[in-house]
Symmetry: C2
Subunit: 140 residues, 2 copies
């Protein structure tokens, strides 16, 4: 179980610890881009002894090693995203909810555009769409 995760760590010479497994599982479980605080709160139950400092250190480690991505937000509080496949984000201006938006067709259009139209003196590593707006229904 979690072979992908364990392999990725080993491959970089990092130890597979109880804390790292728990934190990674929590991000997967919480989905919808949890904050560090969300994660800490959730872990209170199952792992009351994992400390705040550790959570932050481990999250940074995961981001550096491409196990998670950081999501920038309007208020500067960082969120974490376990979905690594290229995707975009919908930002709701009313509820601060952030939802994934995958759209291969659109991604292809944009990638093709940049294949034809290089940006001067700039090497693109990643392109992300930040779509701001409102969800029509308030529930969900």
């Amino acid at each position: 179980m979690n072979t992908f995760f364990r392999e990725k760590l080993k491959q970089k010479g990092l130890k597979v610890t109880l804390q790292r497994v728990a934190i990674y599982d929590t991000v997967l479980h919480l989905k919808n881009h949890p904050t560090a605080e969300n994660i800490i709160e959730y872990l209170k139950n199952s792992h009351p002894n994992i400390s705040v400092g550790t959570v932050y250190k481990v999250l940074d480690l995961f981001v550096e090693n491409d196990l998670l991505k950081k999501v920038k937000t309007e208020n500067g509080i960082m969120r974490y995203d376990a979905v690594l496949a290229n995707h975009h984000h919908l930002y709701c201006t009313e509820t601060d909810r952030i939802e994934d938006y995958e759209d291969e067709e659109l991604s292809n259009i944009i990638n093709n555009y940049f294949k034809k139209n290089k940006i001067q003196k700039f090497k693109i590593q990643d392109i992300k769409l930040q779509i701001t707006g409102k969800f029509n229904n308030n529930f969900k």
Copy 2:
């Protein structure tokens, strides 16, 4: 001078103060998306008595009233952008520099795409491209 700025404030019933003018001018002058700290530092010379709290309050006010835009960054420290015309951003992973990227053709392509392909239950207000990568030359 600065009629646009003064009008916008009056139009909302906000007072045109020395501090607001100075802060707005500073953002225009510093260009390249200054942080609040950049602005405070710059103002030390010309207006040593403008306080930190005021700068933050005024920047927020400007954002609320569409005189400035907030730019989210990798480390959570907010930056401010005086360019209101729709444009995208290039994020340099090496230097943390953020540069404007205007591309009407691309914006049109994306807008047209969403005209044909609505996102379910979501009303788009704004679309921004976040292009991460590296500048080839280190100077500039």
